[in-house]
């Protein structure tokens, strides 16, 4: 079986670089689009941090060379024939996505929300209504905080983590040359909003910008 890391512009693989379980990286090309994989006889794709970091490390080193569409973790195909079929069948889609993300990286920004102060509710319905209103105010505040970042990105995508979470998170597709000003703006936002926890991680491969209906 083969484990798939990324669809790419034509790339060269450094055969000293290793994928999951230290398997050597391999690449094939079909229709002007490359695919990077490793071959395994046995592979249990549990999403454990070491495997995840290794998958991402492969994406990162490819990103330095070329446009990259990272695969979702755990994509396994029977063999390279199956992979060539995928590249032929979906070549148009992949070339379009590559043109969207080429030259860019993904930055992840998270704004921690402070819990709403709890007033004594008169009944259950009032309590829920107050909680929803407080939650909406917090979401709107986080949106306002993040608004200055959006013009610095080619595209943005929310990363919803579920309504019970304490954070708003958003992904930004940023051209490499714009990363420094973007990060400077994140620092400026934190200085202006000292009561919020703002975190920024990256640069990531463009995981949030290679799905079906993303712009």
């Amino acid at each position: 079986m083969i484990y798939l890391y990324a669809i790419t512009d034509p790339v060269r693989i450094d055969h000293r670089e290793r994928g999951l379980l230290d398997a050597p990286l391999e690449v094939i090309e079909e229709g002007g689009v490359g695919a990077v994989y490793s071959t395994h006889t046995e592979l249990e794709c549990k999403p454990d941090p070491d495997l995840a970091w290794r998958h991402d490390r492969v994406v990162e080193l490819l990103m330095d060379q070329a446009g990259v569409l990272p695969l979702r973790f755990g994509t396994v195909l029977a063999d390279t024939d199956a992979l060539r079929t995928v590249l032929r069948d979906q070549g148009t889609r992949f070339r379009l996505l590559l043109s969207r993300v080429r030259g860019c990286v993904e930055l992840a920004v998270r704004v921690g929300l402070t819990p709403a102060p709890s007033a004594a509710p008169s009944d259950g319905v009032d309590y829920l209504r107050e909680r929803l209103a407080a939650r909406q105010q917090q979401v709107d505040a986080a949106d306002r905080v993040l608004a200055p970042l959006r013009p610095l990105a080619r595209a943005t995508a929310p990363r919803p983590l579920g309504s019970r979470n304490a954070a708003i998170s958003e992904s930004y597709l940023v051209p490499r040359a714009a990363v420094e000003p973007f990060v400077a703006e994140v620092r400026a936002l934190q200085s202006r909003n000292r009561s919020l926890s703002i975190s920024c991680t990256g640069p990531w491969g463009p995981y949030s910008f290679v799905g079906e209906a993303k712009g």
Binding site: L4, I7, L43, E44, C45, K46, P47, P49, A52, W53, H55, D56, R57, E60, L69, P70, L71, R72, F73, G74, T75, L77, A82, V86, F94, E106, L107, A108, R110, G112, L113, T114, P115, R159, L161, G162, N165, A166, A167, R176, V179, V183, V186, R187, Q190, S191, R194, S197, I198, S199, C200, T201, G202, P203, W204, G205, Y207, S208, V210, G211
Partner: protein, 85 residues
């Protein structure tokens, strides 16, 4: 191109410089980077439909774990836990 050093600003507004790679990230910053990593790898990326089956087990458990981790990091920040520099 070297990994860009990004500042992770947490809680008290003072910036902490961190590299993204997990072997140089410490403590709670490692937790945040791991959350962002797993969120992207498990819920993002190209999905090959059709005959391709994702060979990932226990995704629901991972999401439960992620939410718990996010809550615990946020709770620590609220309580003013001193963060490593």
């Amino acid at each position: 191109m070297a990994s860009i050093q990004l500042r992770l600003s947490l809680g008290d507004g003072d910036a902490v410089t961190e590299a993204r790679r997990h072997d140089t990230v410490v403590g709670q910053q490692r937790d945040i980077a791991l959350i962002d990593l797993l969120d992207r790898l498990l819920d993002g990326g190209v999905v090959l439909a059709g005959d391709i089956t994702l060979a990932v087990a226990d995704i629901d458990l991972v999401y439960v774990g992620l939410r718990a981790l996010i809550s615990s990091v946020a709770a620590a920040e609220r309580e003013g836990v001193a963060l490593p520099r």
